[in-house]
Symmetry: C2
């Protein structure tokens, strides 16, 4: 059975690593020193459970609980997520899923028997995509969706090379990515959105995951004096960027019937001076929709607007793709198993779509996959105020354990 | 007579200091090491002309050419401007005026006679206001419009204290600000706008200068996940900032009949991550109008919009005043002298308004003041491509010398 106290204590302990200020969130961006410290702690915990720890060449960490038989070892059930965070993050996003996987392995150890099939607890590299894009990178490489070489050569927002940073923190392993092929994949995660809480449901049975389109846009305008340049003679990169932000919200998201989400989370001006019209604006666009044609329509509308805007403002606009993932439908059998496991434990549940991207989305390319969600208070995530009640966290982990028990009999 | 070649050589030499990259502009922001190097060079040139060099407690530099009589010393004619620059600037903005003042003093030295009234060449501290606000700070303190203590305590965009930076570069002088009270003040400057070039005029006779209103706005929103947060539940500080940028351009500047200018030159988001809705946006607003009631109307419309926007988006918006200067009308007698001097030298001229703020605007509070403009190619300034033909620069300096010769007889 599940050691709920130890699970909660480990979530708290890992949440201290990379702490911004007491009670103030943490920043454990992939392949930084803080990420290394988090990895070291996770690996120590895996070793304490006598899991067989393997690191692959993109830095994914696997803790393997061997099966009783070689047949069982050949059909591993993988439980995964990530331990990297965004800047000034909550403690749960990712860590909760990895540490719940450990709790499942621990339950087996406590019972003193080897499982009928191997259990692999996975922590994938750079799920958040803050410094290196695309996000979900470790699981994408694992699933064969991105060449290892290309991933290692990714250049960060700070100009570093991913492969160098990986070697620097000592997590450039030897295992070939994809070598540990899951027979099934499960991921437990906080919802990060407001739906479960609003409806008073305990468990989310994630059926599908929306598509994600990330771009980096660069507007090249003309620096000039704020006091002497008539408005109609300006080529203001900052105004053009603001016009894109407004267009995305007012014309793309607002006109999609509520399904398309559009976010500009990062924006910088050059030279960034009060009395100088910006010569350059560099910003990101995050578009999402559960429906691929609608996501493409949003991308197309943006592209058309950029052409019109560039002409109107006399600026040049470059678009670079940072990430693009199509919507994914999870395995129906696994989803049904999650639903019936929740019911069996007396927990309410509802079917739902994931708004966030997850490693499960990548692994779904190579194995049946599904996800379990627990509620997020006020739907807040990517924020130090991210919160799920302990009781709800434990419920989610119990559902995971129940699903694993059922699947390992198969 | 004027040594044109030496003036042009000094402009080039000073323009090398703080150079960003060969042929790529310079960054000599007030009270940085680059500013110190520029000041050292200027002081050396003043000493070579055997001017009496005095530094005041806000770091303003004065090079005094004594008159033949004590009566003449008591009624100094001041020729001033500044040698600090914006980031990635041209070589002319400010330096041209100071070095032309030196050229006037040099003409006197060459003639071997003491002038009937003292000539003071002034280089005022922090005219650009890039790091420390307000702009025109040295001349404002000189004119008694800002207490020395307050100016020294100004906190920079990089968190430094102005007084500490001034002491660090060795330019915290002993002279009381305002001790050298000009009897008249002249400033020669590039137009920084497109009007003289467009009309084919050689000399701008600056009659007045528009009002300037600088604010720093901070939007406090809520960080949340870009993929899970429905558009209608967002409190997106980045979107709110973009809405202000669009409003200023589309509703304030566009509806003013073309007189109000509005610029957002600096804008930063926090945490500035692709998949995180911004919790904070910090940006500047630069509003200008030659008419004080119209400038106030623009400020009022912005303030009203901020209230409405804060309510609509569920964000908090703080406004902090960085600088506020009313429009200034220059001395009519001096303007007429400039106009007739240009005519006397066979140069075309036109009366005009200055779009940029200048030290003359501050000194006008304590003495008759006026300005002379020369054309700026394509109206470009605050940009490494800022340019005025050598012949035009020399024409401007000759007009300055002519005006000085005439005034010193008074
Ligand atoms: N779960 C999560 O926050 N993933 C990060 C990738 C994204 O959805 O932006
Ligand atoms: N002349 C000039 O560029 N002054 C800087 C102050 C301003 O007008 O913004």
């Amino acid at each position: 059975s599940l050691d709920a106290q130890l699970l909660l204590a480990q979530i708290r302990a890992l949440g201290e690593i990379g702490s911004d200020a007491p009670g103030e969130g943490r920043t454990r961006i992939a392949l930084t020193d803080a990420d290394r410290a988090g990895r070291d702690l996770l690996v120590r915990w895996m070793r304490e459970l006598e899991l067989d720890v393997r690191i692959d060449r993109i830095g994914n960490i696997f803790g393997i609980l061997r099966a009783a038989t070689t047949e069982g070892d050949a059909r591993p059930l993988m439980i995964g997520s990530h331990i990297d965070t965004v800047r000034n993050a909550g403690a749960l996003d990712g860590c909760y899923g990895v540490l719940s996987g450990l709790a499942v392995a621990r339950a087996w150890r406590a019972a003193g028997v080897a499982p009928p099939r191997a259990i692999v607890v996975a922590a994938f590299t750079n799920e958040e995509g803050v410094r290196f894009q695309p996000d979900m990178m470790g699981s994408l490489v694992h699933a064969g969706g991105l060449a290892l070489r290309e991933a290692l050569d990714a250049v960060g927002t700070d100009g570093t090379r991913l492969g160098d940073e990986l070697a620097r923190i000592g997590y450039a392993g030897e295992l070939e990515p994809g070598a540990i092929r899951p027979h099934e994949y499960l991921e437990l995660h906080i919802e990060q959105g407001p739906i479960l809480e609003a409806e008073g449901q305990s468990i989310g049975v994630v059926e599908n995951l929306q598509g994600i389109s990330w771009q980096k846009l660069t507007v090249h305008g003309t620096a000039n004096h704020a006091g002497t340049t008539p408005m109609r003679l300006r080529h203001d990169a900052g105004y053009a960027a603001a016009a894109v932000v407004a267009f995305l919200r007012e014309q793309v998201a607002a006109c999609s019937g509520g399904t398309t989400l559009a976010t500009v989370g990062s924006l910088r001006l050059e030279p960034d001076v009060v009395n100088v019209i910006a010569r350059k604006a560099i910003f990101t666009v995050d578009l999402r929709d559960p429906d691929e044609p609608r996501l493409q329509a949003a991308e197309r509308r943006l592209a058309e607007f950029l052409v019109e805007l560039a002409r109107r403002e006399g600026v040049e606009i470059q678009a670079e793709r940072l990430a693009r993932f199509e919507p994914v439908v999870f395995d129906a059998g696994l989803a049904a198993e999650i639903e019936s496991s929740a019911r069996h434990l007396g927990l309410t549940s509802r079917r739902m779509t994931s708004g966030a991207g997850h490693d499960a989305q990548m692994i779904a390319r190579i194995a049946p996959a599904a996800m379990i969600f627990v509620p997020s208070r006020s739907g807040i995530s990517h924020n130090p105020r991210e919160h799920t009640d302990d009781a709800q966290l434990v419920q989610g982990a119990r559902v995971l354990l129940e699903v694993v028990l059922r699947r390992l009999q198969q």
